[in-house]
């Protein structure tokens, strides 16, 4: 019950007049860490990922695409995590892989979720036949598994990081549009929004003053979940042979290539990228769970 009291205390503190913007953010941040330790761990993993990705050229001992070692060389002093099937340094590839994971994850989330929001909000305002048709397209996309759609798209386009992002985005866009649309619809029904409409506020004002801020929480939660989802889909596409080009140090690609050789060739190669994916996706999910708890008042402690 300690958690409960601290949270109540935290809420109480928050209710006090805010001393300043920075301080307020800091308070909220500290409260988040205290009340949501799992989320904080998730956040820490994410921060680490960002750091590793940003510092990749400094951290990694070798160029991730060069082949300084022997194929499948065991971990040793020169190559701390060994080498892969053509003699590339696994550690360097793992470090650079953080960039790719972040790029694929953030890219598909920024493009996908943002596009979904724009489409979702627009649809509720346009309405009519356009909304109707769009709804059917969303239904059609939702009746097919995301991976299947991504697979079909990858068969059409030439594989590269950006096309992988495109495939992931189209694979995940439908359920997000639906979530956003229903949320916007319910927001529009809220008293103050109806009131704003009644006094003749233009739609863009309502959208930016009322709808968007209220959707921000949803955006953040969906974004963290789909970041993890995108990383997993990226690796699944590699398994199906249509993912990121093999010389790009993508964790999923590394894992797939290790899994398609004899296991004794390089067990470290089948473990390291898998662990990296595991930690990062776990991190994003924990963060997402925590954010959802924070933003959804119904789920706060009883």
């Amino acid at each position: 019950m300690i958690d409960q009291t601290t949270e109540q205390a935290a809420i109480a503190r928050e209710a006090m007049p805010a001393p300043g913007l920075t301080a307020r953010w800091w308070t909220a941040f500290m409260r988040f860490i205290r009340t949501k330790p799992l989320g904080a761990v998730g956040g820490l993993i994410v921060v680490l990922l960002v750091l590793v990705a940003a510092l990749a050229p400094v951290l990694s001992p070798y160029d991730p695409r060069s082949t300084p070692a022997l194929p499948w060389e065991s971990p040793n002093a020169d190559f701390l995590l060994g080498a892969d099937y053509v003699g590339r340094d696994v550690l360097s590839r793992l470090i650079y892989g953080a960039r790719i994971s972040l790029y694929v994850g953030l890219g598909s989330v920024l493009v996908g979720i943002t596009a979904s929001f724009i489409i979702g909000v627009a649809l509720t305002y346009i309405g009519g036949i356009v909304d109707m048709v769009a709804q059917r397209i969303v239904d059609a996309l939702m009746s097919l598994p995301g991976l299947l759609i991504a697979l079909a798209i990858m068969a059409v386009v030439t594989p590269s990081l950006n096309t992988v992002i495109l495939a992931i985005v189209i694979g995940m866009i439908a359920p997000v549009i639906r979530t956003v649309r229903s949320q916007v619809l319910s927001l529009k029904e809220l008293d103050y929004v109806t009131a704003a409409t009644a006094i003749g506020a233009p739609p863009w004002r309502i959208i930016f003053r009322h709808i968007v801020p209220n959707c921000f929480a949803t955006y953040l939660v969906l974004a963290t979940y789909y970041l993890g989802f995108a990383i997993i889909i990226e690796s699944s596409l590699s398994f199906l042979g249509v993912g990121t080009p093999p010389d790009q140090p993508s964790w999923g690609g590394m894992l797939v290539r290790a899994a398609s050789a004899h296991v004794k060739s390089g067990p470290w190669l089948a473990i390291c990228p898998g662990l990296a994916i595991f930690l990062v996706v776990m991190g994003f999910n924990l963060l997402g769970d925590a954010l959802r708890d924070v933003f959804d008042p119904r789920l706060r402690g009883r």
């Binding site: 060069s66 082949t67 022997l70 194929p71 099937y85 042979g241 080009p245 004899h262 296991v263 004794k264």
Partner: protein, 650 residues
């Protein structure tokens, strides 16, 4: 590797020149040697006897089941060999010794194998490839001739008990005597009519309506459609267009199956009784309905489940009595590599023998052997294909021969062999290793193979002259499987670091790659190419004719054409070798449209208690499974010394 390219008229010449007669015929233990008549007078069509001895010598056989076998050193074309004339008459030995032993070891159960893809066609003459036709349908039929399963370089009779070469005025050809006991699984005898009908079916050619003869149509080069005829019930006459020494070796390939005429024409008693229409009967065949699949071979289809596997029962009335040495044959389909390897490791299957690019890598097979203490044995066929880069010589940057030569110089082939295929192969030469070029000589005399620093200096110089002092960036389309991918991944960093040529690797699936090559839209591709014959003619036909897949932008050079023509018409092997060496010298200027990077080996694996498997000349031969048996007992009792030196790095 693909036989279809043989349809081209130019190939016809090349094959003529191949002149085989090495063909070879000797059988089992007691060989009936053939009388020979020289046919070297027939102009361009008849080559010398160059191919056969060289083909024999150059095929390294790795036979893990017969004592320590080191890879036969790939001999150079034997310049002193005398032309071997076309054989005339041969009779076939009935039962070699191993047949007896196999029979005594008959196993009351299934022989489980693993393959990677679904059968595409149950009609063995219809289209497709090794995976879709040969592996599924090969066991159900016999050919007229076959490669001796225990002696890879020998051609013996399959349905034929004897055959002879005849000359009748202008007409030349072969007469085959069919085994008197040979019957189809529905009880109808295999007659000369069936054989003639099958030859007609095979030579029908692709352009005929509704017929796909992707793998067999090239026989048309030797035999004119509609000329084969039955002399009597068991004797068939196949006239040739010219005295072609390449005819018998091609006829012995596992694609040249004898198909029951009465089934194709819907005349079986059973079908007559059940009142099936011909259309229904044919539909049942393409559906793989076991009762409708009639062949004379050792196996009869029991069941087919798409994406799961297919199985056979031994044919109880097989005319080679006592064979096969199992009650059944079961082929599981596993797409996933890890699952395939673990099925072998756990002993769920006793073997895989499908060393197509990308399916079974030799290094994985070697690890499997190591990991199971030799219970699973790797079989590795040396240099079974060439991994090459294709340059579009019609567009920048490769329209400049200096850039092409810079690429030729910039590739570190030794390093590529070491890293991309873990040493299971040889540095890329234009012809199969050791056939025309001598690697040692190349290393000593050609900087591209020897002095790396000098090669790079020259390459940089050339790039500067061509206007690319700072290198360039180029997209590289690569077939999405190994060793194509790993080769690209190995060579790209070399060129990036040494010549500042930034290669963006773009994996492509086969259909896309195929269309790209056919339409000539691609600039820089990485494709593997398997070979059937080690004869240089094979590579020439695939890479230097106009409009062929491996010459997508129709690169052409008058000197090269002249030498190709010369060696085609040359009867004397020594002179031909001279022409080929001259040709290789031109190609090694590195300005043609393709650059061989490496020759890769192919792998398979068998449980060590499977006996009597011998690696055939190519992976597309000896697919009937009527010669191997299960020795039983403990795997630890296997003679492990046999695998002591297999030429791979553990």
């Amino acid at each position: 590797m693909d036989l279809r390219r043989f349809w081209h008229p130019r190939i016809l010449l090349a094959l003529g020149a191949v002149a085989i007669a090495a063909a070879i015929v000797a059988c089992g233990g007691t060989t009936t040697t053939q009388d020979t008549t020289g046919d070297s007078g027939s102009g361009a069509a008849t080559g010398g006897g160059s191919a056969a001895p060289q083909q024999q010598a150059a095929t390294p056989t790795l036979d893990p089941f017969a004592g320590v076998v080191e890879p036969t050193p790939t001999a150079r074309l034997d310049a002193t060999a005398t032309p071997v004339p076309v054989p005339t008459a041969v009779a076939v030995d009935a039962r070699p010794d191993w047949w007896q032993e196999g029979e005594s070891q008959h196993y009351r159960g299934d022989f489980p194998l693993v393959a990677t893809s679904n059968p595409g066609f149950w009609d063995v003459h219809y289209g497709g490839s090794m995976n879709t036709v040969l592996i599924p349908s090969g066991p159900r039929f016999n050919q007229i001739l076959e490669y001796n399963p225990v002696n890879p370089n020998e051609i013996i009779g399959d349905l034929a008990v004897s055959w002879e070469f005849y000359e009748d005025g202008d007409e030349v050809g072969y007469i085959f005597n069919i085994h008197p006991d040979a019957t189809f699984s529905d009880g109808m005898p295999v007659t000369a009519d069936d054989v003639a009908f099958s030859i007609d079916r095979i030579t029908l050619g692709q352009v005929e309506e509704g017929v796909l003869r992707a793998r067999t149509g090239f026989l048309n080069n030797f035999v004119k459609h509609g000329t084969a005829s039955a002399v009597d019930d068991k004797t068939v006459k196949i006239p040739l267009r010219f005295p072609a020494a390449g005819f018998l070796p091609n006829l012995a390939s596992d694609y040249m199956k004898v198909y029951p005429k009465h089934v194709a024409e819907n005349l079986t008693q059973e079908q007559a009784n059940t009142g099936k229409t011909q259309a229904e009967a044919l539909a049942a065949i393409s559906a793989g309905t076991p009762d409708s699949l009639i062949g004379s071979g050792p196996w009869m289809l029991r069941e087919w489940e798409k994406d799961s596997g297919y199985s056979y029962d031994a044919n109880p009335n097989y005319f080679k009595t006592g064979r096969p040495f199992f009650d059944g044959l079961k082929i599981f389909l596993i797409r996933d590599v890890a699952r395939r390897l673990s099925a072998l490791q756990a002993g769920q299957v006793y073997g895989t023998y499908q060393p197509v690019t990308g399916s079974n890598r030799p290094e994985d097979m070697a690890r499997l052997e190591e990991d199971t203490n030799g219970r699973v044995r790797a079989v590795i066929l040396e240099a079974s294909g060439v991994q090459a880069f294709f340059l579009n010589h019609t567009k920048p940057p490769f329209d400049d021969p200096r850039v092409r030569r810079a690429m030729y110089l910039g590739i570190d082939r030794e390093n590529a062999v070491e890293k991309a295929i873990l040493g299971f192969g040889k540095p890329g030469t234009f012809f199969a290793p050791g056939v025309v070029e001598d690697l040692e000589v190349l290393k000593a005399e050609n900087v591209a193979y020897g002095d790396r620093e000098a090669a790079l200096a020259e390459a940089r110089q050339l790039l500067t002259e061509a206007g690319y002092p700072d290198g360039f960036e180029i997209t590289h389309n690569v077939v999405n499987s190994n060793p194509s991918l790993s080769t690209a991944e190995t060579v790209a960093p070399q060129l990036r670091e040494d010549l500042n040529i930034d290669i963006v690797i773009q994996p492509t699936d086969l259909a896309t790659m195929y269309v790209g090559l056919r339409d000539g839209v691609a600039n820089f591709d990485g494709v593997g190419t398997g070979i059937i014959l080690r004869d240089p003619g094979d590579i020439i036909n695939q890479f230097y004719l106009q409009d062929v897949l491996r010459n997508p932008h129709n690169w052409q050079n008058d000197e090269v054409d002249e030498l190709i023509d010369l060696q085609n018409r040359e009867v004397d092997p020594a002179t031909r070798q001279g022409h080929l060496e001259d040709l290789a010298a031109i190609l090694h200027q590195g300005e043609s449209h393709w650059l061989p990077v490496l020759w890769y080996s192919s792998g398979g694996a068998f449980d060590c208690r499977i006996r009597n498997f011998h690696y055939p000349p190519t992976v597309q031969l000896v697919k009937k499974w009527d010669h191997v048996w299960w020795a039983g007992g403990e795997a630890s009792a296997c003679d492990h010394s046999a695998s002591a030196d297999r030429g791979y790095r553990p």
